[in-house]
């Protein structure tokens, strides 16, 4: 039996290992301050739950790898006998595989997305829907047909989580990255670069952001970008175009302060180039307000998408809308009709509350947890704010 050495072998302290030790200690310190902040920890827990839901949504079983046709409705309107849904109302439409066109009762789901349509048993408007698997209601006019569409709340929410979170995180990451870079360069170097960048941000900050986003999306759709993935890309592009100037402005005002600091002077004196000063001094020291703004924006992008859908702009090609805001907005949009209906005939009144409540709660908790966590993180990272 080999003898176990009494003390572990001493690893020679390489420069890399020493620098890593300092860094780990820094992370431990940040974590220590973060842990003491109750609100930040609550935010972190909720965010981890969202992350779990995101991963679950990524692997949520899709019913087939190819586009399939599903029966969308058994609305109060009679389903024509020629419609396959007439025969088997809760199964995949039984079209021959080589038929391209489909009837008004059937919809096509894109590749990789599951059957969003609830079983027909719960599809009777305003009366069906078991918690939390209620079917979703969409205003008939939006679909461009006379038939309302129904979806499964649960699968829409799960897939909606993936879309909402990935879209907002991606937009904010790219927007903030661009703004950070341009703002830091423009603040640090000044001169004509600064002039040009700041005039551009002036222009973009004078147009109400959401109107410009809608204008970009609508022009993109007119030009012909109408499929589901193209719409997602269009939304991301529109938001990034509109979003970076705010970050550039924030970072620039910080960079103006930072470049006058002694440590920048010291770095210059010891021969550091512009690139090194930017990446090592200016950007790290002007990044905290960006965190705050990022946290606000990540939470607000689902809200803005919801608002766009609510005013009646059809964001995604119907009938597929796996996105929190759109689901809630569509539910809210039919609410007046339902409530008027309730006033007339109280017996048959059934509010699609699950359609509004669950996506609404998702938006609310996502926005609020990102905010709490980012606030805590900023306090923990910035020594001036730790008290």
């Amino acid at each position: 039996m080999a003898t176990v050495p009494a003390t572990p072998p001493v690893v020679p302290a390489s420069p890399f290992r020493r620098s890593m030790q300092a860094r780990v200690a820094q992370y431990q310190r940040t974590w220590y301050f973060l842990r003491r902040n109750t609100l930040a920890m609550i935010g972190l827990v909720i965010l981890l739950l969202f992350a779990a839901l995101f991963v679950y949504g990524l692997y949520y079983p899709a019913s087939g790898s190819e586009p399939q046709l599903y029966c969308a409705s058994n609305s109060p309107l009679p389903v024509p006998e020629t419609n396959p849904c007439y025969q088997a109302s809760n199964v995949v439409c039984t079209y021959p595989s080589n038929v391209n066109s489909y009837g008004p009762g059937c919809i096509e789901t894109p590749i990789g997305y599951p059957n969003f349509i609830a079983p027909t048993a719960s599809l009777i408007p305003f009366t069906g829907g078991a918690f939390p698997l209620g079917s979703l209601v969409f205003p008939a006019s939006d679909a461009g047909t006379t038939l309302p569409f129904f979806y499964n709340d649960y699968s829409m929410l799960v897939k909606g989580t993936v879309n909402s979170i990935s879209v907002s995180v991606f937009i904010v990451a790219v927007g903030a990255g661009t703004g950070l870079l341009l703002g830091a360069v423009s603040g640090y170097y000044g001169g004509w670069v600064d002039e040009v960048v700041m005039r551009i941000t002036d222009v973009f900050l004078s147009v109400p952001a959401i109107l410009l986003v809608i204008a970009v999306i609508i022009v993109g759709k007119t030009v012909g970008l109408t499929s589901f993935t193209e719409t997602l890309e269009l939304i991301v592009a529109a938001f990034i175009i509109v979003w970076w100037p705010l970050y550039a402005r924030i970072v620039r005002s910080q960079a103006l302060v930072v470049r006058e600091q002694r440590y920048v002077e010291a770095a210059k004196a010891s021969g550091a180039g512009g690139g090194r000063i930017l990446t090592r001094h200016v950007i790290p020291n002007s990044v905290y307000p960006v965190f705050v703004q990022m946290s606000l924006d990540v939470g607000s992008i689902p809200l803005l998408l919801a608002a766009i859908t609510f005013i009646g702009f059809i964001l995604f090609p119907y009938p597929l809308i796996p996105e929190w805001g759109s689901i809630a907005a569509a539910g809210t949009e039919v609410l007046p009709v339902v409530l008027t209906h309730c006033g007339v005939a109280k017996a048959t009144c059934f509010l699609p509350w699950w359609q509004i409540l669950f996506p609404g709660l998702a938006i609310f908790f996502f926005a609020i947890s990102v905010n709490f966590f980012a606030d805590g993180l900023r306090d923990a990272l910035d020594p001036r704010l730790r008290r």
Binding site: S141, D142, G144, R199, I200, D202, V203, F204, L205, S206, V207, P208, A209, I210, L211, L212, I214, A215, V216, I218, V219, K221, T222, V223, L296, G299, S300, L303, A306, A307, F310, I311, G312, F313, I314, G325, A328, A329, T332, L335, P336, L339, T340, G343, I356, G360, I363, F364, F365, A367, I368, N371, F372
Partner: protein, 413 residues
């Protein structure tokens, strides 16, 4: 620097910004198909349709002839000229309020989608927007009032009682106001008030119905088809406020409340005002969330200043110190932030006007993008964007001038 010099100088800075915004919009517009541009930004004389390049020949309808209105549109907009010329023509048109015309085929043009509006096809966008603007301005002013009334005292309170229950409560309120979708909050508030008042209005007492006056105020889902015109028995088929879109009665100022007062209709004036109280509160709730943070922070900063200690040391009562010494000085930051949030705040209007069934610019905007692609109205879309830009720019000037007035260092330094 004299005050007026400062104002003129500040106003001159606006020109490049406005031209820049127009350039951005022009880039978007120039991506549109030529037919759409001809359709939306040119108004032919007579009943011709400028949208299509060809029309059935007048002599032989079975053949297609070039469309004279389309050719005229292409010439007028410079669509066959270099892009710089097109840009110059667009900027010229945009500056002279020649913002295009409501298209023939759009939802607003045909009166489709059941808006209750008469078909607006062929009307100049600027004049249509001008008709709808005053109501939005009333809504904006009232919400501004609420925002200031709520956020200033609350921000000061939470700064003075830092980390105490008042502060925590206002912090939670500010977070939740930010995180709840406006349309959700608006709809829920409207539903709550409507049902607290006994259900949706069917027909108000004034129209011979049984709904109470209060139900008529809020229980309008959709608007009761009958709202009384001034002193007449005409029924209003459009919605509220009825004289805006219909032109049923003279409207000297355009502002519904003031017009009603001028005509001596105090009931309608009160009605108009009461209808926008709830939407204004909902808008205020969302904006207060942003403002509160800044008011609190700037107040905290001011409270640490030396002159506050001096004021306390010389024995002034705490209320005077907070109100006069700290409050006045933190006002500057508040006004700046208010100007910055104005852009976000007026973009809430389309949503809130749709929720509360108000006929303002935002509602018009919402209807220009509603529905499938054939219903979109690009002239109204881009016109509203320009109008909102003007509002934001004007608000920024006002804020800066106010700032200079409150803080002499700005205009003197």
């Amino acid at each position: 620097m004299r005050m007026w010099v400062y104002v003129v100088r500040r106003a001159a800075l606006v020109v490049p910004v406005v031209i820049g915004v127009m350039t951005v919009l022009f880039v978007l517009i120039s991506a549109l198909p030529v037919g759409t541009r001809a359709c939306s930004f040119f108004h032919p004389s007579g009943k011709q349709n400028p949208c299509d390049p060809t029309i059935p020949c007048p002599t032989d309808p079975s053949k297609l002839c070039p469309n004279p209105a389309y050719v005229a549109a292409v010439n007028a907009l410079g669509l066959n000229k270099p892009i710089f010329v097109q840009w110059a023509i667009y900027v010229g048109n945009a500056l002279t309020f020649n913002w295009g015309y409501v298209a023939q085929g759009s939802a607003l043009g045909t009166g489709a989608q059941g808006f209750g509006l008469p078909p607006l096809a062929g009307q100049s966008v600027a004049s249509v927007l001008w008709q709808f603007l005053p109501y939005t301005v009333e809504l904006a002013l009232l919400s501004l009032l609420f925002i200031l009334i709520i956020s200033l005292p609350l921000g000061n309170l939470s700064a003075v009682y830092r980390n105490r229950p008042v502060d925590q409560a206002s912090r939670i309120m500010s977070f939740s106001g930010f995180a709840i979708p406006t349309f959700l909050l608006g709809t829920l508030a409207l539903a709550a008030v409507t049902f607290a008042l006994g259900g949706p209005a069917t027909k108000s007492v004034l129209c011979g119905g049984t709904s109470t006056v209060f139900q008529d105020f809020y229980g309008s889902w959709p608007q009761p088809p009958c709202a009384p015109l001034f002193g007449t028995t005409n029924l209003n088929p459009i919605g509220y406020p009825n004289w805006l879109a219909g032109g049923y009665i003279s409207s000297p100022t355009g502002f519904p409340t003031i017009d009603a007062m001028i005509h001596g209709q105090y009931y309608l004036a009160a009605d108009t005002l009461l209808r926008i109280v709830l939407p204004a509160l909902v808008i205020a709730y969302g904006t207060v969330a942003v403002l509160l943070r800044f008011v609190r922070n700037s107040m905290l900063e001011v409270m640490n200043q030396d002159y506050i200690r001096t004021a306390r040391a010389k024995g002034l009562p705490e209320s005077t110190v907070i109100k006069k010494h700290a409050g006045r000085n933190s006002l500057n930051v508040t006004i700046t932030v208010l100007g910055l949030t104005f852009a976000g705040f007026i973009t809430g209007f389309p949503v809130i006007e749709v929720v509360f069934n108000l006929w303002g610019v935002g509602r018009l905007y919402a209807y220009s993008v509603v529905g499938p692609a054939r219903d979109w109205d690009f002239a109204v879309l881009f016109g509203t964007t320009l109008l909102f830009t003007y509002l934001v720019v004007a608000a920024n000037i006002i804020v800066d001038v106010l700032y200079a007035y409150l803080d002499p260092r700005v205009r003197l330094g």
